[in-house]
């Protein structure tokens, strides 16, 4: 399910349940979900990408 499809369905369900005030909060959650899905640690079944170990953090002047 894409984030946009999910958001449409979630807003429709919230309105059906009498919770139309949820709409702006669901839109906020949708932005967070977009960000989460765009992160480079997500796996992809079409290749062998996996969440890998972190790169060495930068250290200066220690």
């Amino acid at each position: 399910m894409t984030v946009d499809t999910w958001l449409d369905a979630a807003i429709a369900d919230a309105e059906r349940r009498g919770l139309s005030e949820l709409k702006p909060m669901l839109e906020t959650l949708a932005r967070a979900t977009h960000a989460l899905r765009s992160a480079d640690f997500n796996g992809d079944a079409s290749d062998s990408r996996q969440a890998g170990p972190p790169k060495e953090p930068m250290k200066k002047s220690l």
Binding site: L19, P53, P57, M58
Partner: protein, 452 residues
């Protein structure tokens, strides 16, 4: 008259054992402060005056008979009303909990009793600990002792207010995204979030079992150490020795963590770093590569976990929640399983990145709260030239260490021109809470005034 707003547990213990004061006198003075200031600050939901007097008298009798339980003997403390204290309601600041009475003490509370603490009352909080301002409470908002028009921070806002106002010498809070450290910062106290899993969360109303922590708020690092050890069942801890300050190595994660800071908060933070450098601390920099994913990962986990715990009561008694908390809980019911799993993957990666950042130094150092205590009722605040939602900005610097489980402590580091507290956060290696506190004790001496 004893000034309970500045007295530390250590100093009280010295006076108690020198027969200069008694537990009963100290408890009476805290109760007098509650009578005087709680109508203004709304820090307490329940004042346990009779029980506290009884416990204090018993503590005095024990000491006279030669039974000294340790540094918490006879010390009046407050407890966030999210934690079970036998025979009292655990309201979680919600009408959803009406009729609840705890049958037994949470293990953490049982340990505090064994250590001799006097439980003076239960403190106000953001309903079900699901907020950072303490505004949404069935008992009305707790208020900041430095300016009652401002939030004391949350969710353990009543706990922080109670110690800064001299109503208790220390308090127990819980921290799921910063709820010990944020109010400690907003009120000018010390707040410790231990390593995840160290202190039992049994008998504590959960928000997210994956992220929940129990820990102390106090007036000094040494007092926080006494409380922390008591929470673990160690009533007679050895004294905390500071790490040698000269040669201590700390790293500042500047990117993301110093991007959104109030000007005066930034100034106090930089002054704190300069004071540490002057004392011989080696201050470097580091980077948390996936820092921008902290908020999205945290949000998906806490929303889904909280919604799971509240699913039944959201259906059966939705009108008993405050409206904002009900909506936030409802939002969690829409989180997809696949996104929850992505958030958990992000959490694991962030944990590795914080471990790696700590590998070459003794601690990470960053501000605790990007802003000063916000006005009650504010949805957003100006930070530099931008407007930020209050909830997002208050969680920004603390929630990472709930995701990763690293121990973190908030220390006062000066005030703004208006007298509002600013706070430095020090983060240690997982499982090394004692080492973190030794580092914090060394730094505290160079950060200016203590709490309050």
């Amino acid at each position: 008259m004893i000034d309970t707003s500045t007295l530390t547990i250590e100093e009280f213990g010295r006076r108690l054992r020198a027969r200069e004061t008694t537990a009963e006198q100290m408890t009476e003075e805290c109760l007098r402060r509650i009578d005087a200031d709680n109508p203004r600050l709304n820090a307490f939901i329940l004042v346990m005056a009779d029980q506290a007097r009884q416990q204090a008298r018993e503590a005095d009798r024990e000491l006279a008979a030669g039974h000294d339980r340790g540094p918490l003997h006879g010390v009046p403390i407050s407890i966030k009303d999210l934690v079970d204290v036998r025979g009292t309601p655990t309201t979680a600041a919600s009408r959803v909990r009406e009729g609840h009475v705890a049958e037994r003490d949470a293990p953490a509370i049982a340990h505090l009793r064994q250590a001799g603490a006097v439980i003076i009352g239960k403190t106000n909080l953001h309903e079900f600990a699901f907020g950072t301002t303490n505004e949404d409470s069935a008992f009305g908002p707790a208020r900041n002792p430095h300016d009652p028009a401002r939030s004391p921070g949350g969710s353990s806002g009543g706990s922080a207010a109670s110690i800064v106002a001299g109503m208790a010498l220390a308090s127990i809070g819980t921290d799921t995204g910063g709820s010990i450290r944020i109010p400690a910062a907003a009120c000018g106290a010390v707040g410790l979030k231990p390593t995840h899993g160290e202190v039992s969360t049994a008998g504590v109303v959960p928000l997210s079992r994956a992220l929940d922590h129990v820990g102390p708020l106090a007036r000094s690092v040494a007092d926080a150490w006494i409380m922390y050890r008591a929470l673990l069942g160690d009533a007679t801890p050895r004294g905390l020795a500071p790490s040698p300050i000269s040669g201590l190595r700390v790293a500042v994660p500047r990117a993301y963590f110093c991007d959104v800071l109030d000007d005066q908060v930034r100034a106090r933070f930089e002054e704190a770093l300069e004071a540490l450098r002057a004392a011989g601390v080696r201050v470097g920099e580091t980077d948390i590569r996936h820092a921008k994913e902290i908020g999205p990962a945290y949000l998906h986990i806490v929303l889904a976990d909280a919604a799971t715990h509240h699913a039944a009561t959201l259906e059966s008694m939705p009108e008993r929640y405050t409206a904002p908390v009900r909506l936030r809980l409802e939002m969690g019911r829409y989180v997809l399983a696949e996104d929850y799993v992505r958030a958990q993957a992000g959490r694991e990666l962030l944990r590795q990145e914080v471990d790696a950042a700590l590998a070459g130094c003794d601690a990470l150092v960053l501000p605790t709260l990007p802003i000063v205590a916000p006005p009650l009722g504010a949805d957003s605040v100006n930070v530099g030239s931008t407007q930020e939602p209050v909830r997002n900005v208050m969680l920004r610097l603390t929630q990472l260490f709930n995701l990763t489980g690293h121990p973190a402590i908030a220390l006062p580091c000066g005030r703004t021109a208006d007298g509002l507290p600013c706070s430095l956060q020090i983060v240690g290696a997982r499982g090394q809470t004692e080492q973190l506190m030794r580092t914090a004790l060394a730094c505290e001496a160079h950060l200016g005034r203590r709490s309050g």
